[in-house]
């Protein structure tokens, strides 16, 4: 039964006669769903399970007793006593005729059509034994239109409307519409002549024919490709997709409907961000720095340098002088082996990962309360939630496919949505209330909502602890501090109360916030009061996993307290600059462009005695390293990732590593062996086996079990509570001074980390390196769209292109994080404080 039928399922049952057999289904179920639920197949063409029925092709027609003509089963709900016939000679002819109507205008372009071989029109024509069309109408040939990352060929379009519907119902964009009718009909972008959309490619994926094709020319044919199901290497949603390879070449990414947590949906990064795997920029051999330049060396030499240098420095300065920084795109197996080698082989304990370094307070705060490094809830909660709250998260851009999970639920159940943000972010479908608060006053606003919920007539009964901190502030003063009116706060509280059990999403604004922990605690209280849940967006594909695997200071895999000795004081870079840390191993990360105060990071890396980096690209960090080891990307290795909801999912090898590059676990296993450790691991699954045996929460994982959709980690809840926290309701002091503008640094829809800049389609869609600024501020500064602005903070200055938007309110700008030449993080202070900048015309 499809989603749209679900809501009517509460109504009483209906019995119909289906092909002579009596079947009972809930009222409101369509004939098609009834038939499919009872194992009767009715052919369809335009119907798609994740969409409301469209009813454009008439292929699904069935006979109903008492009606002269066949009717469409996909749109017709059953009614009591209905007698339905799904197969008859009359129907066969009728369906064949419907198909002939479609074929009348369809050219025989199969040999050059990208969809050939997986085209549903081809399949139906073959299945239904249609050998000829009525006639060829010979309509005017319309040239194919270029839609940037997509292309549209009007001649092939059968006007099933799937693309239009998916773009609206699932992607919430509504970028496509049918224009005209009959022979002059055409699918047109609603964004003007050019298609200017999310480029999620949902329309591409559901188009049954080749009318919408990829802008990345498909160099193979559908039947030649080998499809390996794996997980997206970009963000933490952990979308499943198929890597399509022909021989040793990655030719495209596809995703069947119904696979993975993403239900076949992807975002632009997932669908078009694959070029980096086989980019010419990939490193293929190890490099060793001699003098100022890097020279290529063999793996034997590289590995012996690595082992010797680390041994030497340890002998001279002790284990505390060695530090490790892990990237968040390492697999669980990589991370596990890395920390094992460093902890057991070298006795070092200065181990960290990039997300933890960005906001150590947040991660530490979380370990003790949630038993994980973040509040976590399964995506299944989305179906069950009474309402959704986006708090400090740009749901359309950060973890985009979570939005795609939410939209159908909102469509079917009318679940209300509340957006509370420091910027004017938007989301479709519309939010019940969209409130913009002053950056820094988050906790005050949360306290205000809690107060409004728990006082006055109709107050919610809440545990005293969850309300305690909120009592320090009144609704009125919360309103004053946050800039959200008292009335609005009350309406939010009312709405949340009525809907019950909210699911609160917290985004990167919270992760990177100086008061992130307080916000998380406050929202956890709010959720606890209303019986809801919270989810913190994670940034990269395995941010959750590397924390779980103990690539964090003081925590062994599974969050047990570590015993080893760590260098103390400040983060790794501060310790290098103080001379406490001499050698640093950086695995799969680029701190010189992604950590706060990149200038300081670069200085520290230059000051260190020995820096070794594993990376697929010559990143800023790699340029500063003494030893650069080429590592394999996510499609070149086996392993597991743990996503946003704590689901462990398999990543599978679809290609051999480029050149001589090696998976990180191989590199660190070999290092372990050279350091005299017993490392019996022959492949990634050996490591998974050990993880499944030893790491709390990951116990009992097997490859075969994971192959069936992954498994949720059962995190130990150490604090034993999910609400009732004390939190600080005081707004952040505005200490901008000379730097009057608050900058929020975040990811764009098309760029994330070091990978996306090596994908040309993503670069085409978004050239990267921009600052979003409100019209008022821009006017005052004399900036126009497309101008170059100098954005300067205490730690650095970068030049960015100006984008004037409604999204940025007065006094707040949004800076894109990932740009090789202008890293947004160079503006952020190392202490994790708020980013204050001044902007001027450059």
């Amino acid at each position: 039964m499809s989603h749209h039928d679900a809501e009517q399922a509460v109504a009483k049952d209906v019995t119909i006669i289906l092909d002579g057999k009596s079947v009972t289904v809930p009222a409101g179920t369509t004939i098609l769903s009834t038939a499919r639920a009872n194992g009767v197949d009715i052919p369809t063409l335009c119907y798609l399970k994740k969409l409301n029925p469209i009813g454009s092709c008439r292929i699904c027609s069935v006979e109903v007793e008492g009606l002269a003509d066949p009717i469409m089963s996909c749109v017709t709900p059953v009614s009591e006593g209905m007698k339905v016939t799904t197969q008859s000679d009359k129907l066969t002819t009728y369906r064949q005729d419907m198909l002939r109507f479609i074929l009348t205008n369809h050219p025989l372009d199969c040999p050059v059509c990208e969809r050939s071989g997986e085209c549903q029109l081809q399949n139906k024509t073959f299945e239904m034994k249609v050998l000829s069309a009525f006639a060829t109408a010979n309509p005017k040939k319309v040239p194919r239109t270029d839609w940037s990352l997509l292309r549209y060929d009007r001649n092939l379009c059968i006007f099933c409307e799937r693309c239009v519907k998916v773009c609206w119902e699932v992607q919430g964009f509504g970028a496509l519409a049918i224009d005209g009718n009959g022979y002059s009909a055409i699918i047109k972008p609603t964004t003007g002549d050019r298609l200017d959309c999310d480029f999620c490619g949902q329309c591409l994926s559901v188009c049954p024919v080749g009318a919408i094709s990829s802008g990345v020319v498909f160099s193979a044919r559908s039947w030649e490709v080998k499809k390996t199901q794996t997980v997206c290497p970009h963000c933490a949603v952990g979308c499943s997709f198929h890597v399509n390879t022909k021989k040793e070449e990655l030719v495209r990414i596809t995703s069947d409907d119904d696979i993975g947590v993403n239900n076949g949906n992807l975002c632009a990064r997932g669908r078009f961000g694959f070029g980096f795997h086989q980019s010419e920029d990939r490193l293929t051999v190890p490099y060793l720095k001699s003098g100022d330049a890097h020279t290529t060396v063999s793996w034997e030499v590289a590995m012996s340098v690595l082992a010797e240098k680390l041994g030497e420095i340890k002998a001279k300065h002790g284990a505390e002088s060695i530090a490790v920084i892990g990237g968040e795109t390492l697999s669980n197996e990589d991370a596990y082996i890395l920390q094992k080698v460093i902890r057991n082989g070298l006795g070092a304990e200065t181990i960290d990962n990039v997300s933890n370094m960005r906001n150590p307070a947040l991660c530490e705060g979380m370990f003790d309360t949630f038993g994980a490094s973040a509040p976590i809830a399964s995506f299944e909660q989305i179906e069950k939630a009474g309402s959704f709250v986006f708090f400090g998260c740009d749901a359309e851009k950060e973890n985009p496919v979570i939005g795609n999970m939410i939209r159908p639920v909102m469509r079917d159940k009318d679940t209300p949505l509340y957006i509370l943000n420091a910027r004017n972010i938007s989301f479709t479908p519309k939010a019940r209330i969209r409130a913009r608060f002053n950056y820094g006053a988050e906790t005050a606003l949360i306290a205000g909502v809690i107060r409004a919920l728990t006082e006055g007539p109709g107050a919610v009964k809440a545990d005293a602890e969850s309300v305690k901190s909120a009592n320090a502030i009144s609704v009125e003063s919360a309103a004053r501090a946050s800039g959200v009116s008292a009335d609005e706060i009350k309406r939010i509280a009312d709405g949340l109360k009525k809907a019950g059990s909210p699911l609160i999403f917290m985004g990167s604004e919270v992760c990177n916030h100086p008061k992130g922990v307080e916000i998380v605690k406050g929202l956890s209280n709010l959720a606890a009061i209303l019986g809801g849940k919270t989810i913190l967006y994670r940034e990269y594909s395995n941010t959750q996993g590397v924390n779980d695997m103990g690539l964090a200071p003081g925590h062994l895999p599974g969050y047990a307290k570590a015993q080893g000795k760590a260098a103390s004081g400040g983060d790794v870079f501060a310790r290098i600059l103080e001379g406490k840390v001499k050698a640093v191993v950086i695995a799969g990360a680029d701190p010189a462009s992604s950590n706060a105060d990149t200038g300081r990071v670069a200085k520290a890396l230059a000051a260190a005695q020995f820096v070794a980096v594993t990376t697929p690209f010559m990143t800023q960090t790699a340029k500063l390293a003494n030893l650069v080891l080429p590592s394999a990307t996510a499609v070149e290795r086996d392993g597991t990732f743990t996503n946003n909801e704590g689901r462990v999912q398999l990543i599978r090898k679809a290609l051999s590593p480029k050149g001589e590059s090696r998976p990180d676990w191989v590199i660190f296993r070999d290092l372990g062996r050279m350091l005299g450790q017993e490392m019996h691991y022959g492949n990634a699954w050996d490591i998974l086996f050990e993880i499944a045996g030893k790491v709390p929460g990951y116990q009992g994982l097997t490859h075969d079990a994971l192959a069936k959709g992954g498994r949720l980690v059962s995190y130990p809840n150490r604090g034993g509570k999910t609400g009732g926290f004390e939190f600080d309701v005081k707004p952040l002091d505005a200490v901008g001074g000379d730097y009057p503008v608050t900058a929020i640094v975040g990811n764009s829809l098309f760029h994330l980390g070091v990978f996306s800049v090596h994908c040309s389609p993503l670069k085409d869609a978004d050239a990267s390196g921009w600052v979003e600024i409100g019209a008022e501020d821009a006017g005052a500064l004399g900036l126009a769209n497309g101008d170059t602005a100098q954005v300067q903070s205490r730690t650095g200055a970068i030049k960015l292109k100006v984008k004037i938007t409604k999204r940025s309110p007065k006094g707040v700008v949004f800076v894109m994080k990932n740009d090789e030449n202008a890293p947004g993080m160079s503006l952020a202070p190392a202490d994790g404080g708020a980013v204050f900048v001044k902007v001027k015309k450059a």
Partner: protein, 191 residues
Amino acid sequence: MATKIKKIRRNVTLTLWEQSYVPEILRGMYITLEHFFINLWGLILEFAWSGREDRKIATVYYPEESVTPPPAYRGRPVLVLGADGNEKCVACGLCEAACPPQCISIIGAERANGERYPLRYTLDGTRCIFCGRCEEACPKEAIVMSDDWRNLCEYDRSKMIYEKADLLVPEEKLAGRLAFIRDKAFGKDRY
């Protein structure tokens, strides 16, 4: 050269005469010897006085002499180069799929005008079995079996991996075969 086609009796039940064995053996030996002498005389006469044309024997003295096979002959598969200087192939991959020993390998691409063409077209001559399936599958008459039988052998196997440039032959040179497949081999009558 004109060849006489002989009617052959194809019954399986042998007559009494045939079952008696010896006469048939003698008849067989007679035929063999007849050919032996025809060839012997042909050879001597050719070198002695008669021209090649009159001789009765079928042997072609390669390499001094050579034959041009009839259009039905399946020699080395080649790609047709159209009059506009572009290959006719649209990289549809049907030949690749049809080829029994899987010796074809194509990487498709697009021209600026949106037409598909093979960026690379590799045919492994060490594996080709000259079955002509590629030609039959091709919707564009872009690959045909040529009459080229001379350049099929190499001392080095790697030279037998033909790239697109090695395979392209101008359309005019293939006119005979193209006409043949259009009219006879894959013409309307056959399907």
